[in-house]
């Protein structure tokens, strides 16, 4: 029943920003079993970027580009998710990610329900399973979940039949953030080959870092990671990244883009750091450090920024900064993810070129 639903949705999903579309053709030589028509995602849920194949990521980037064009139109709404209900299930305070998802869902004409639970209600009261069963009893198709516990979205895939999108699960992954970071780079670079990205800051607690690492490695970029030794998790190098604890040394290796992570103030009180002042001096990106990026180097930040701690205002508002582009791209990427997971197809290479 789920499969046939997806088939139906796929048939009705008009490609955004495109006039026509070839009908889905069964693949002559299936790459996977069951065969997935070209342009569709192999993944059924977006739980993380670990293990997501290059083709899927490229399909999402290609589709995001199509949607980004929609966002520049006077009427910014397209119909593919009409009649479908998306629940935004947020167990953690989040303003920008929730708004970005909500707007993306509305731009796709989905019906949107927001469920916000306070952090304390995770510990007591109704269990996650019961909450989700209740919400799905109202016939919802997609659940976007933000939760402080790693693996909560994976649990939902066991407990429900809905399509699950991870909007951040503890320190595990934040795949749409990883994708929008990658889209922001890809928009400029068009290829990750030979590119080197530095992820900087509190790696231990960062879901953004993990999603960036997996996605960028899959797409063929080199990834360097840098942070205080207390905030670099065990065995990190085994993921295939270079690990630094000195940002100047890391920058000297030649960096095309630095993704500056937010440093949480509570890391100081829990003795990961002696002071934010010292962090800022050792790891903060200021103009002098930004100037040591490779020519055309980019500065990213997932937000919200602590200006003067991990990044100076001069850099955040400067030439190299693509921080506001990330926000706009987040909308396009989330539209692409929802559209593709609900059965839509990515544009083919020839369609992209015909633009």
């Amino acid at each position: 029943m789920v499969v046939s639903d997806r088939e139906r949705k796929a048939g009705s999903a008009a490609p955004a920003g495109k006039g026509r579309r070839t009908a889905p053709v069964p693949a002559a030589t299936p790459v996977v079993s069951p065969p997935v028509p070209p342009g569709r995602l192999l993944i059924r849920h977006l739980l993380g970027l670990e293990g997501v194949c290059r083709e899927d990521i490229q399909r999402i980037l290609d589709t995001a580009e199509t949607f980004k064009e929609v966002l520049d139109r006077p009427i910014k709404k397209v119909p593919p998710l009409r009649g479908q209900t998306v629940v935004n299930l947020f167990y953690e305070p989040s303003t920008r990610t929730r708004i970005s998802f909500e707007l993306a869902e509305k731009r796709l004409s989905a019906d949107v329900v927001n469920f916000t639970a306070s952090a304390s209600s995770v510990q007591k009261g109704e269990s996650l399973r019961d909450t989700v069963k209740n919400i799905l009893a109202m016939k919802t198709d997609v659940v976007v979940i933000r939760h402080p516990c790693p693996g909560a979205p994976h649990f939902l895939t066991r407990a429900t039949d809905a399509i699950i999108v991870n909007a951040g699960d503890g320190a595990h992954e934040h795949p749409t953030q990883g994708l929008l970071d990658m889209y922001t780079l890809w928009e400029r670079w068009r290829s990750f080959a030979g590119r080197r990205v530095l992820v900087l800051g509190d790696i231990l607690h960062s879901r953004v870092a993990r999603s960036n690492i997996w996605g960028l490695l899959t797409m063929g970029a080199q990834v360097a990671v840098c942070g205080p030794a207390t905030l670099v998790p065990a065995c990190l190098a085994q993921l295939g990244v270079e690990v630094f604890t000195n940002v100047d040394v890391a920058l000297d290796t030649g960096v095309d883009a630095v993704n500056v992570l937010r440093i949480q103030r509570e890391r100081q009180s829990s003795d990961f750091l002696p002071s934010l002042r010292e962090y800022s001096r050792l790891f903060g990106i200021d103009a002098a450090r930004a100037a040591r990026l490779r020519p055309g180097g980019l500065v990213m930040h997932p937000g919200p920024m602590n200006r003067g701690v991990e990044i100076t205002s001069e850099v955040a508002d400067g030439e190299a900064s693509v921080i506001l582009d990330q926000v706009t791209n987040g909308l396009a990427v989330r539209m692409a993810v929802l559209y593709l997971l609900c059965g839509g197809q990515a544009p083919t290479a020839s369609e992209r070129e015909s633009e």
């Binding site: 670990e50 995770v122 510990q123 269990s127 996650l128 399973r129 939760h147 402080p148 516990c149 790693p150 693996g151 909560a152 994976h154 649990f155 895939t157 066991r158 699960d169 503890g170 320190a171 595990h172 992954e173 879901r207 993990r210 998790p233 065990a234 065995c235 990190l236 085994q238 993921l239």
Partner: protein, 448 residues
């Protein structure tokens, strides 16, 4: 009087391969049981047993292994407090199905087993249990880690060892006093070795997998520092320290060195730590793989197996920890630690040790019976005249698949569903009574 008298008496276990690690005996023999539930003698097989005793079954053990009943030094029976998860009776029933004729139950109940009334309560409940049950008392009052519990009173009531299980005694000063005090009664101090400030609310082993999953890690040194500290206290006080559920290669090395030096230290390992690694947590964040100490790496698993085989680790203990389904079916971070293990212990250990060629049946049986009995000074675990007739009959060639339906524990939080295990518990005898038999009525008469 225990309700064991309602079970059928056994007169003879005939024709099996009798393995008694205590005497080193390993051969085909008949075990004759007297009408007081004790072993009368072991003798050559083949005699017609029909008229030995007017009452009592004759179990045909041809093709089977006959061994001392298993002794578990580390069981959570949840009574009093969480009778929805397990009771003394239900846990003991699960135990005898897994071959455990003796269970030593940990004091992290509600209220904790931390005074003589609660020790007596558990022993009273044990009258309705098919197997033997010995309470382990808390080291500290109310298991709060602040002041000494009435250890002597609990010894008098029947506690066989002392532990604040679930947590170590965090204060080295208090643990030193506890060891000095316990030494007067010759009872072991059992430590759950963990350094709280190093575990820091961790939920799995700290390493590559915790890094991938973003779950808070419990580093190996959290255990090893506590093992080293406790061994230093055991060395100084001369008190017998028993290290519960050893999980790291580093701990094995520390214990090996301490034993070589003559410190009175013993140790146990769980079946799940002998076969599972932290990679299993990466399977969908399933809380069924959440245990404390956490599942470690492949290198740790190999060191634990080696430590058991070379005697550094004395015995296998289940750490049977029943949890209600709803508590183990949710977010990994929020689920309680622990898995049930009484009914799968034999097959899982056979997989870890026998199927790998590291050990033979006599050694595995020793680790499950005589060796743990000696650690807690319990008068069981051997097949010899006048010893209690606590025996198991194992079909070493029978395979079975673990399913929730096959487990009788009140809780079903096993990490081994779908595993095919070798070695089926055919019969379990406690005090000469047939408390478990896999295939219905065992019959009276031997085939001629």
């Amino acid at each position: 009087m225990s309700n064991r008298s309602t079970f059928r008496a056994v007169a003879v276990i005939a024709g099996g391969r009798v393995i008694d690690p205590g005497s080193g005996f390993d051969g085909i023999a008949d075990v004759i049981i007297d009408d007081k539930g004790k072993i009368e003698r072991i003798e050559r097989p083949g005699r017609d047993r029909r008229h030995d005793r007017s009452s009592g079954a004759v179990l045909d053990a041809t093709g089977m292994i006959v061994a001392p009943g298993f002794v578990d030094l580390h069981t959570h029976l949840r009574e009093p407090g969480r009778e929805d998860e397990e009771t003394v009776a239900s846990g003991s029933a699960a135990g005898v199905r897994g071959g455990f004729t003796t269970l030593c139950c940990m004091p992290n109940t509600e209220p904790p087993i931390a005074d003589q009334e609660t020790v007596r309560f558990v022993l009273d409940r044990a009258l309705a249990a098919p197997g033997r049950v010995h309470p382990v008392g808390a080291i500290t009052r109310n298991r709060e880690g602040k002041s000494l519990a009435e250890i002597a009173e609990m010894v008098a009531a029947g506690a066989v060892a002392f532990s604040d299980d679930g947590a170590p005694v965090a204060s080295a000063g208090l643990l030193r006093r506890a060891m000095q005090y316990a030494h007067m009664f010759d009872v072991p101090i059992v430590e759950h070795c963990e350094t709280p400030e190093l575990s820091a609310q961790g939920v799995m082993h700290e390493g590559l997998i915790s890094t991938k999953l973003g779950l808070r890690g419990i580093p190996a040194i959290s255990e090893e520092i506590c093992v080293a500290r406790d061994i230093a206290l055991a060395r100084e006080t001369g008190t017998h320290l028993h290290v519960a559920h050893v999980s790291t290669a580093g701990s094995v090395a520390i214990i090996r060195a301490a034993k070589a030096e003559g410190v009175h230290v013993t140790a146990e390992v769980t079946p799940h730590h002998l076969v599972l690694t932290d990679d299993w947590v990466a399977r969908d964040f399933d809380p069924l793989y959440k245990v404390n100490p956490p599942l470690r790496t492949g290198d740790d698993v190999m060191a634990l197996r080696q430590g058991l085989v070379d005697g550094t680790i004395d015995c296998i203990a289940s750490d049977h920890a029943p949890h209600a389904e709803q508590e183990k079916d949710g977010e990994f971070d929020l689920a309680p630690f622990g898995v049930v293990g009484l009914e799968t212990a034999l097959g899982v250990c056979a997989k870890a040790l026998i199927e790998t060629g590291l050990a033979d049946w006599p050694l595995l049986i020793d680790c499950l019976s005589r060796r743990p009995a000696r650690v807690f000074n319990l008068p069981v675990g051997e097949i010899k005249p006048d010893a209690p007739a606590d025996l198991v009959v194992i079909d070493p060639n029978e395979h079975w698949t673990v399913t929730p339906e096959r487990l009788t524990s009140k809780s079903k939080n096993s990490p081994f569903y779908g595993w095919e295990l070798t070695g089926l518990l055919r019969s379990t005898v406690v005090e000469g009574r047939l408390v478990h038999h896999a295939n219905g009525d065992p019959g009276r008469v031997l085939p001629s």
